[in-house]
């Protein structure tokens, strides 16, 4: 097991290095420079800013400097928020995005899975149709519409929740739901399909033949096997959700990471865009790693050998 973990760790590091390298060169190959803003700077001043930030040195040299800093965990200073380091921006914004994501998950995961199970157990009945309806709505209504509707209904009209911002518990309810509905729908659909697939398996028949009661069959045999595909998607899903979403954060004015992902690339804030990519990449790799370990807990058949 230890050997496996070690091996995976090395692979993870290589993945992150590859990601950082490819993103570095791709970003730098984009036309334009970060000092071309709507308030125009003359070509001469642009050039001076470029050399002030060392962006005129040979690319490979900059790359090695960047890697060197990266190894020490230093992501550099943003070129747009000039006095703030990328580390500090992530340290401030990520907890907000992560909290929002966790709340959305906390809302979506139990309900989504429960709905999926109920739908599969009551296949073709009213409960099934209800869950499918929820799933279809959740998937097809984009979060910017859901967010706006929730905001309008519950904040503007009813006044139950604040319209926007992120300053306490009551501020988190609507954005969590807006973000969670899509997740909930995805999980419901996946769980339903997965449960149905398992129903026809031989071991379920065997369990029935053994005379196990329905509860035992569902809990110990069906659910457990049906969880596998869920756990598979859960890794990247969780990583994605915790990293922030541009749309929901924008509607509810939440100071999360989502906006930085979009803005940094558009404005060619090299350090920021790279820092975020590497951070997200590392997070995703870690999430997948955890998923692989969890597999073993759920299904001894794929437990990794020593």
């Amino acid at each position: 097991m230890l050997k496996y973990i070690l091996k995976r760790l090395i692979i993870s590091l290589i993945t992150i290095w590859l990601l950082a390298t490819v993103s570095f060169f791709l970003l730098r190959s984009l036309p334009g420079n970060p000092f071309q803003t709507e308030v125009l700077l003359s070509a001469e001043v642009q050039q001076r800013m470029i050399s002030y930030y060392g962006l005129d040195r040979p690319l490979y040299e900059q790359y090695f400097t960047y890697l060197g800093n990266l190894v020490q965990g230093d992501l550099g200073y943003s070129l747009k928020y000039v006095n703030r380091s990328v580390n500090s921006i992530i340290a401030e914004s990520f907890p907000v995005s992560a909290e929002l994501g966790l709340r959305a998950l906390a809302f979506a995961l139990p309900i989504g899975l429960a709905l999926g199970v109920v739908a599969a157990r009551r296949r073709g009945k009213a409960a099934d149709y209800m869950s499918v309806l929820v799933a279809v709505i959740g998937i097809s209504v984009p979060s910017f519409i859901m967010g706006t509707l929730l905001q309008y209904g519950f904040s503007v009209k009813l006044g139950w929740f604040p319209v926007a911002q992120w300053k306490g518990w009551e501020y988190t309810v609507l954005p969590s739901i807006a973000m969670g509905l899509g997740l909930l729908a995805t999980l419901t659909r996946l769980m339903r399909a997965s449960m149905l697939e398992v129903t026809t398996q031989d071991y379920i028949k065997t369990a029935r033949a053994k005379g196990l009661n329905e509860r035992q069959i569902v809990w110990s045999h069906q659910l457990r096997n049906a969880m596998l595909p869920i756990v598979t998607v859960l890794g990247p899903l969780v990583a994605n959700v915790l990293m922030g979403t541009f749309v929901v954060e924008q509607i509810f004015a939440i100071p999360g990471l989502g906006m930085h992902f979009v803005q940094s690339v558009q404005s060619l804030d090299y350090t920021m865009a790279l820092g975020l990519t590497v951070f997200f990449g590392a997070f995703l790799v870690a999430a997948n790693f955890i998923v692989d370990l969890v597999y073993g807990v759920i299904d001894p058949r794929i437990r990794v050998a020593d």
Partner: protein, 553 residues
């Protein structure tokens, strides 16, 4: 292992419940802080919202209007601009030598917000830091008129003592110019780069100076009490400000609300008192909204060499450019796709620009181009152009219109439509790019048509000076000696009236021959609650000037 699975399910459920129950967020302390500073019965706090975070509050490095607006309220320079006028700031009085080269500022006794004295040395340090090549300030060219400033900034001289900025004693600052600039006070007053920074804090925090409220000390009517990045900036009245009795507000809270609909909902439900820039799609909700010009001028910019020789031949034809220009319904575009409050531009110099006797427009009237389309005139210009170039309407070369994402794209679509409807031109293709790429394309001259937006509020010469032969952002291929001479001759006039009338001649020449056509004067529409008074909007300095605003609920 069965138990293991049940445990996992249990753990998942438990963690889910825990999370939904966990109420204390780390922000709750901040909201408490918020109440602490702005609560209190009868305290007057003006809360308003903008859609983005300022890039930096280090005044030397600041680049955007948002930073300018915050710094305007928390800092004070030698002179300040209020309501489009220059007022004394930390400098109580000043003398200007007869040759217009030496400015001597007599500073009042004032302090930083922490109560420590603010002296001429602080200004000397701050201005020298701004032009120091090791600082990384972007807009250093604004101070190039100061003696030796350019050489120092370019590293040609390294001794700051040679630069014409000197503290003569504790409360006297002398600035020597390399050439007379009659609007130098306006330059000093309307830019955020010239506010004093506290040396001690700059040296203590280095690259992180002004990254947070605790990492800066300023000297303005307000001070920055709290800054939650991407969320809010809390300003409170500075009790150490020399003129604090004139300040009625106890504080200003600026929220960062990126979404226009959200901002509007917050205004409607009373969570904010003022929207400084109403989005176009929401303007119909606010019939009482007022509007103001923003201090910049937008124009159609043409690349005289074109993206191809054929394109160059067409675009460098004056009649063709006039045809494009007259085919545009500027007022229609302003109303349909521009920010509310935007006006059609008939000439280059802004209506708000002041000349020697009155506003420039009043003193030097000039009807450049109509606000609505003149299709017949446009067609006759087009026919002349076709004749002169020997081209026909159905085999015109492809012209590339480079536009940035966002509003510029909407302009491009409206203009393309006008040109095809009114002139039958189908050869103009729009290329939409993110901001840096679009600017790169104009710098590389890989465009035929572009909408340029330039800040033009300081002086009539600002907007004209960009287009001198080989000017620093003149990426049009139009290097006209006559225009350059007209401009330089005008600027050499010591008499202001003569200088402005010379500039007027240059403006007319540019209009007749230049690679530009006036397009729009961008504006903004704003609305405040009835209980808010004293909001001043100005094209000079910060867009929203809330210094003497009041809230009477």
């Amino acid at each position: 292992m069965k138990k293991g699975f049940s445990k996992l399910v249990l753990a998942l459920t438990a963690s889910a419940m825990l999370l939904s129950a966990c109420t204390a967020t780390n922000n709750s302390s901040e909201s408490g802080n918020d109440k602490g500073s702005s609560g209190g019965a009868g305290s007057k706090v003006l809360t308003y919202a903008v859609n983005k975070e300022p890039g930096t509050l280090d005044s030397g490095k600041s680049q955007d209007d948002l930073a300018n607006e915050i710094l305007y309220h928390i800092s004070e320079g030698l002179v300040r601009t209020y309501d489009n006028k220059i007022e004394p700031g930390i400098a109580e009085t000043w003398d200007i030598s007869d040759d217009g080269l030496t400015y001597t500022f007599h500073l009042r006794q004032s302090t930083w917000s922490d109560g420590t004295p603010l002296t001429a040395k602080d200004f000397e340090y701050s201005l020298l830091r701004f032009i120091d090549p090791n600082t990384g300030s972007a807009f250093v060219e604004t101070l190039y008129d100061v003696a030796n400033a350019e050489a120092f900034n370019k590293g040609e001289i390294t001794d700051p003592a040679q630069v014409g900025i000197k503290a003569l004693d504790e409360y006297t600052l002398e600035i020597k110019l390399a050439r007379p600039v009659s609007f130098f006070l306006t330059v000093l007053a309307s830019n955020s780069y010239f506010y004093p920074v506290k040396q001690e804090l700059v040296e203590q925090h280095g690259d992180q100076y002004a990254a947070d409220a605790s990492k800066m000390i300023t000297n303005g009517p307000f001070k920055l009490e709290n800054w939650v990045h991407e969320s809010e900036l809390v300003l409170v009245k500075n009790e150490n400000y020399w003129d604090k009795d004139r300040i009625k507000l106890d504080g200003i809270t600026q929220l960062i609300i990126p979404d226009a609909n959200t901002m509007s909902s917050m205004f409607d439900s009373g969570q904010i008192d003022y929207i400084p820039d109403i989005a176009a799609q929401l303007i119909s909700k606010y019939p009482d909204a007022k509007s103001a010009l923003g201090g910049s001028s937008q124009m159609l910019q043409f690349n005289m060499d074109g993206t191809s020789p054929e394109a160059g031949k067409l675009i460098s034809n004056r009649n063709f450019r006039k045809a494009l220009s007259y085919a545009i319904d500027r007022t229609g575009v302003a109303n349909a796709v521009a920010a509310p409050g935007t006006q059609a531009a008939n000439r280059f110099i802004l209506p708000t620009t002041v000349a020697s006797a009155a506003t420039f427009h009043v003193q030097f009237p000039f009807q450049g181009i109509g606000s609505t389309a003149d299709v017949d005139l446009a067609k006759s210009y087009l026919n002349k152009a076709l004749e002169e170039t020997g081209m026909t309407l159905d085999n015109l070369p492809k012209l590339t219109y480079v536009a940035m994402e966002g509003r510029q794209k909407l302009y491009a679509e409206a203009l393309q439509d006008a040109w095809s409807t009114n002139l039958g031109l189908t050869n103009i293709e729009i290329t939409v790019m993110p901001t840096p790429q679009a600017i790169q394309a104009t710098m590389n001259r890989e465009y035929d048509i572009y909408v340029q937006s330039l800040d033009a509020s300081e002086d009539a010469s600002t907007i004209l000076g960009y287009w001198l032969a080989n000017g620093s952002i003149n990426w049009t291929g139009w290097n006209d000696e006559t225009f350059t001479n007209m401009y330089n001759t005008a600027m050499a006039q010591m008499d202001e009236g003569a200088r402005y009338s010379g500039l007027f001649e240059a403006e007319k020449y540019l209009f007749e021959n230049g690679p530009l056509e006036p397009f729009l004067y961008p504006g903004t529409s704003y609305i405040a609650k009835d209980y808010v008074s004293g909001i001043v909007r100005s094209p000079l300095g910060a867009a929203s000037q809330l210094l003497y605003a009041d809230v009477t609920k």
